[in-house]
Amino acid sequence: MTYQSRMTATLAASALALSASLAAAEEAPITIVINQSPWFPGFQAVVEAYEDETGNTVELDVNPFAGSLEKQRTAVRADESPFDILIMNAGFFVEFYTGGFIAPLQEIDASFELSDDIYTFDDSTCWNAEAKTITCDGGDLLSVPVNPNVLILHYRQDLYDEAGLSVPKTWDELYENAKTLQTDRRYGISQRGQRGTFDVTYDVFPYIWSHGGGIVDQQDDGSFQVSINSEGTLAGMETYLKLANDVGHPSTAGQTQTNVIQNMATGRAAHINSVPAPGLFDDESKSMVVGQVAYAPPPGTAEIPSATPLGHWLAGVPKNISDDNKQAALAFLSWFQTDAAQRAYAEAGSMPVSRAVLESEMADQPEYRWMKAMAEALPNARLTFTFPEATQVLAITELRLNQAIGGEMPLKEALNTAAEEITKVMQDAGYDIPAPELLQ
């Protein structure tokens, strides 16, 4: 074959391949802005599966946690968003709903519905603009959940078997187990105490909720109450600090989510409370504890059972994109909530948002042993912040809780200071909130 004929054949083949791919793609290419989380590799795999199956193109714009939020804000405030799907965190989605940035999905396609199998996570998929409330009762469907992301307890099954321990239901039991398993080379527990965007605050929720505390609670009448310096929160934080000081990592105030996961993966921690990254712990190239990590809902107290914070992720379609792109975005979300896609998502090492998959026969297989813990934890999972000023409140809690954990400020003083600062933020934003009663 001459050079010219080889060239002609190559060009012809390329043109054929291009036309084939164009013919296969039914939707406009879309871009998803997303953060780099432990569950991201699974999402990436499922996006690739979507591309292979449909011929449609999806680009992923991957960012650190805070960077993703900033990009989403900038995108929705521009004349035209460069992103067709926003992956919004449970801590911040309300500001996108209240700002009117997200397109109601049934305005894009009136026939679109969220599958009955998909969790709504305290109705966080819906927004009633008139009542300014998160509710699917009279609210518009604004998003599709893409990841459940709740904290669950990870523990070393092999060490439990060796020591004859049983799975802890209360913090006291966890403390005793951690004490038993603590050695010079292994921490009883590793906690995520670093100050970040939504780090230490997320980590302490199971402790403070199960002691009857909170940070800012929404009342039945829709009003808010600052509860960060309540007796319950104090008790929860004392439990957190007891674990950190007696059986925890010496640098709890400096531990990120990545550190905590690393400590488990390298065999340095007997327990962690973390968002699950099951694919990681069973991957021989990344873990020294393959097949040894087991899962359970976070402990609670004798009075209040386990409660875990929703740190889930929601996919919303911004209003400021073309109709074609809205359709393409919805096509992806429709595909994503199918049973096949949810199973593929789980197989790729991430947590599905489908109740049917979590409770399916998959959960009985050893590699999906985390599913039962998730299914058990999710009914008690709660939204953390349901108002648009969440980022300002988080800036306060991240600092004050970290100061208390690091010993820079006494616990009661940290909680009282946080309560006063949060009250000021909420009052400035127009909420009718009384001055907090300080802990003595």
Partner: protein, 291 residues
């Protein structure tokens, strides 16, 4: 002659216009923003006039106070160390006749490494569980240290990274200054019997003062703007121990979305830095004239 002057000015105008577009206009926008609170309702930005309220909040902001103090400590300690080490290295390098290029290349290597890689390298080195520093301490029979998680150590640890990163900058400028000093003065001093210390004290330092001052001012400006090292190593924590002003502005403006207040904070910091530069320039101009 008049035409000549006209054209000299005229050739500067395009650059001036570009400068105004890229710098002055955003600054004016920032200033305007600092007198407002911005809220987003139905995809529309609603600017509420708040007058000087955002500026009045500044003194009460605990985070800003901590950030200002840490920035000052960080800048003074880090830059002092960088100037001292950079000057010593530059002096030693000028005395090397053969292989000077080799030493110069080695000493400037850290400045060529991107900030993100520096963050990764040092975060690993400082790691409590896996870091080389703690491995070394354990090998020596000493207790491991929580370099980035201990409020008493964290700022110092970040300063060490900054000194490692930016000393080459001082070294390069000071070396250039030392190499440009006239040889004949030193020859004359030698003939007059001046010792090395006397040459350093009475000739090198006075002649180097303008270069030292410029290097110092440049580094102080950069040190006041430190962000990447803090972001990558500590995120401002633990607590407020490594909070710096640029990080506080980042939090308020971007993360918390308090754009009006963040703008006021930015304007206040720009004003303070500008005042510092003017004061330093005047002071060094006076010294330079005396020297």
């Amino acid at each position: 002659m008049k035409t000549d002057t006209f054209w000299r000015h005229a050739t500067l105008w395009p650059a001036l216009v570009l400068f105004a577009l890229l710098t002055i206009l955003p600054l004016i926008k920032l200033l305007a923003l600092s007198f407002h609170d911005v809220e987003w309702i139905n995809r529309e930005a609603v600017w509420d006039w708040v007058g000087l309220a955002n500026y009045a909040r500044l003194p009460q902001d605990n985070l800003l106070r901590a950030g200002a103090l840490n920035t000052l400590i960080f800048a003074v300690v880090a830059v002092a160390l960088q100037m001292l080490i950079g000057f010593i290295l530059a002096l030693l390098t000028t005395r090397v006749v053969r292989g000077r290029v080799f030493y110069r290349t080695v000493f400037i290597l850290p400045i060529l490494v991107p900030g993100i890689i520096i963050g990764a390298i040092w975060k690993l080195m400082y790691s409590y569980d896996f870091g080389v520093l703690n491995s070394l301490l354990l090998w020596l029979g000493l207790a491991p240290q929580d370099w980035l998680g201990n409020p008493d150590l964290a700022l110092l640890s970040v300063i060490v990274v900054d000194v490692w990163h930016w000393t080459p900058f001082c070294f390069l400028l000071l070396l250039a200054g030392l190499e440009s000093l006239p040889d004949d003065i030193f020859e004359a001093a030698k003939i007059d019997g001046a010792s090395r210390w006397q040459q350093l004290r009475h000739i090198t330092l006075p002649l180097m003062l303008p270069t030292i001052a410029v290097t110092f001012v440049f580094r102080m400006i950069l040190a006041f703007k430190v962000f990447d090292e803090i972001y990558l190593l500590t995120g401002g924590g633990p607590g407020t121990s490594t909070e710096v002003i640029s990080f506080t502005i980042y939090r308020r403006f971007f993360t918390e979305d308090q754009t009006g207040y963040g703008a006021a904070m930015s304007i206040a910091v720009i004003a303070v830095i500008a005042a510092g530069i003017i004061a330093a320039t005047r002071a060094t101009a006076g010294k330079g004239a005396k020297a």
